[in-house]
Amino acid sequence: MTADTPTQAPASTPGFRDGDPPEVRLLAQMLLVRRFEERCVELYSAGSIRGFLHVYVGEEAVATGVMSALEPDDAVVATYREHGHALLKGMSARAVMAEMYGKVTGCARGRGGSMHLFEAATRFYGGNAIVGGGLPLAIGLALADRLAGRDRVTACFFGEGAMAEGEFHESVNLAALWRLPVLFVCENNLYAMGTALARSESETNLAVKAAAYELPAWSVDGMDVLAVAEAADRAVQAIRAGGGPHFLEARTFRFRAHSMFDPERYREKAEVEQWKQRDPIELLRGRLVGQGTLAEADLAVMEAEVAAVVDDAAAFAEESPLEDLADLELYVHDPASSVLRRAPLLAAAREGVAP
């Protein structure tokens, strides 16, 4: 793999071999997201990653389970806590890590950073740092599929904080009205930054709230990846069969701070510790070992393979070049735009010289 081609085949999940039970893949995927983000936190502390960094530690079962129900051609719209979603949709760890380093080999050539990961090839549409801002985009992607007669689904992830935003209500209403093929996934981690659910929502049963828009809506244990996968699969099948949009609330918890600048004054340590008892990775690992699907030796191999991918991503990001400063203003207009063609003419006019 060269610096110019950071994308790797999405099928390659470290720690998973063809023929392994699908649960092993889910475990390996959650582990990759966990270890990748743990490294991000270290690299943030070391100053290699700057800006805002929001990690998904504790919530991995949600994206992992939902993503297992999607086809490669389905679209994903996510939030600013989306490193895991990007990896699970098939972006390479290299492209994601290099983006966080602000390197030209990053998925957005260093323009996006942690909060704005994108990849056209895997139909990963961000990476949106405006709470609720991704929902309208998702329904538009689904509308295009409807108008073009394509059998695709758009999965839209957002936190429970977004359900207080107008864009949630406008978008779910429109999607339900037009029966668009969207899976709305609410990642309810109980705190919108530092605001507890009961302090921001008059109706804290979010599925009940969503159901007011006349779409199938239910809640699932977001710490149980198998339950999430089963629920998502059911929803996606129904959507693909023409059943219109569905809403899934995954009840989960963020084990770490909101971002790297969060002293966590708004919640008790005991609450965090209690949720950690239901760590989604430990739950599945215990189950797979308990039923004899995996041995401790297999887990060690999985950890080693995941670590190798994370090491490789960090090394790649470290060694990658920065974007050329001369290219600062690229990607504001499409290369085909006449704006770019005329720019030298306008510059010459300002200088008062013949172009």
């Binding site: 323009r111 309208p136 329904i139 538009g140 108008l147 209403n173």
Partner: protein, 364 residues
């Protein structure tokens, strides 16, 4: 289009936010085939025929917005299109600007060519997140992976006694944002032909239709079609000074030029047409010839498009100037309802003539 709008066209007979549908003859579908000869159309009809032609030319094009279908558009622009194209392509939306503008962005990403209509520029503020944080930014923050070929049409401007939440000219605000193109058709050929070019643009284009122009009529030449979105147009050549304007104030400025001509002053009138990016070739070229400039902008003066134009002239043509640049803008008040107050708040013919005379005196 007639060069002069009557004073009544400026003050307007429409006093409701949602104008009544135009009379039935205005709604009669016209032939989709190109007319053999020139035709006389209203600005409203020119906008409609532009949409119709675009939809016939490309199946990916669809129109979406509040009351664009069964109602026929709040200003009657899309009258008859639902009957011709059906509800999948002429889509009435709920009152949810952010959702349907964002849906337009998503649909554009998904390969469609949406035209999103927002009733007025004031309502577009409810969709500002989608326009600014997504449509304009997506290409750059995705490192060039995604572009958004979306067209958003909206009504702008005052003159119809619609008061402080339906009357502003905020295109200058939008002109601040990198990543989008801003156009303001002021003539019948532009009202018809800008849309096709906007739809062919790979990036988001915002089209500002001045509400005071919808009833104006003029000629669409035979064979009229797509027009460029890059250049300003000299609507009246002149040698003594340059009157720079766009959109709804163009007819009034042309009338001011005639008033000045009667007094022996030969004014050039430049229609900016595209507000972002500004055509520096035309602006600076004209001012370097005439050495004097008056910028007429229905927006507020502070931080306005007129400020940008004046700044560019002083930055790049300062030594060509024989007088300071003058500006004629709206009074810095939320637009009042009462007719005499609204008229007093808006740029006037007399104000433009007075500014021109001041500039001709060297600014004194």
């Amino acid at each position: 289009m007639s060069a002069r709008r009557s004073p009544t066209a400026r003050s307007g007979a429409r006093a409701t936010a949602v104008a009544p549908p135009p009379p039935p003859d205005d709604a009669a579908p016209t032939s989709p085939e190109p007319e053999a000869g020139p035709r006389t159309l209203t600005y409203r009809e020119a906008c409609r025929e532009g949409i119709r032609a675009a939809m016939l030319a490309d199946e990916r094009v669809f129109l979406m917005g509040e009351d664009v279908g069964m109602y026929g558009g709040c200003f009657g622009v899309s009258m008859g299109l639902l009957e011709q194209f059906g509800p999948e392509r002429i889509r009435d939306t709920p009152l949810s600007e952010s959702a349907f503008v964002g849906a337009g962005i998503g649909a554009a990403l998904g390969g469609m060519r949406p035209i999103v209509e927002i009733m007025t520029v004031n309502f577009s503020l409810l969709a500002l997140d989608q326009i600014m944080n997504t449509a304009a930014a997506l290409q750059h923050m995705s490192g060039g992976q995604f572009h958004v070929p979306l067209v958003i049409r909206m009504t702008t401007g005052a003159g119809r006694q619609l008061a402080a939440q339906h009357s502003h000219s905020l295109e200058g605000w939008y002109g601040h944002i990198p990543g989008i193109r801003i156009v303001a058709p002021a003539t019948i050929p532009d009202a018809y032909g800008m849309l096709a070019t906007a739809l062919a643009d790979p990036d988001p284009v915002l089209v500002f239709e001045h509400g005071g122009l919808y009833n104006a009529s003029g000629e669409l030449p035979a064979g009229a079609g797509a027009v460029d979105l890059d250049t300003a147009a000299v609507r009246r050549p002149g040698t003594d000074l340059t009157l720079i304007t766009y959109g709804g104030t163009l007819p009034m400025v042309l009338e001011a030029a005639e008033r000045l001509a009667a007094a022996g002053v030969d004014a050039e009138v430049l229609d900016l047409r595209t507000l972002r990016p500004l055509d520096d070739v035309a602006i600076l070229g004209s001012v370097r010839r005439t050495h004097r400039a008056v910028v007429v902008d229905e927006g507020w003066r502070t931080g306005s498009l007129s400020a940008e134009v004046a700044a560019r002239i002083t930055e790049h043509a300062f030594y060509d100037l024989d007088a300071p640049v003058a500006r004629v803008c709206s009074a810095e008040v939320p637009m009042p309802y009462a007719r005499h107050l609204e008229l007093a708040a808006l740029p006037t013919l007399e104000g433009v003539v007075a500014a021109a005379e001041r500039v001709l005196r060297g600014g004194a």
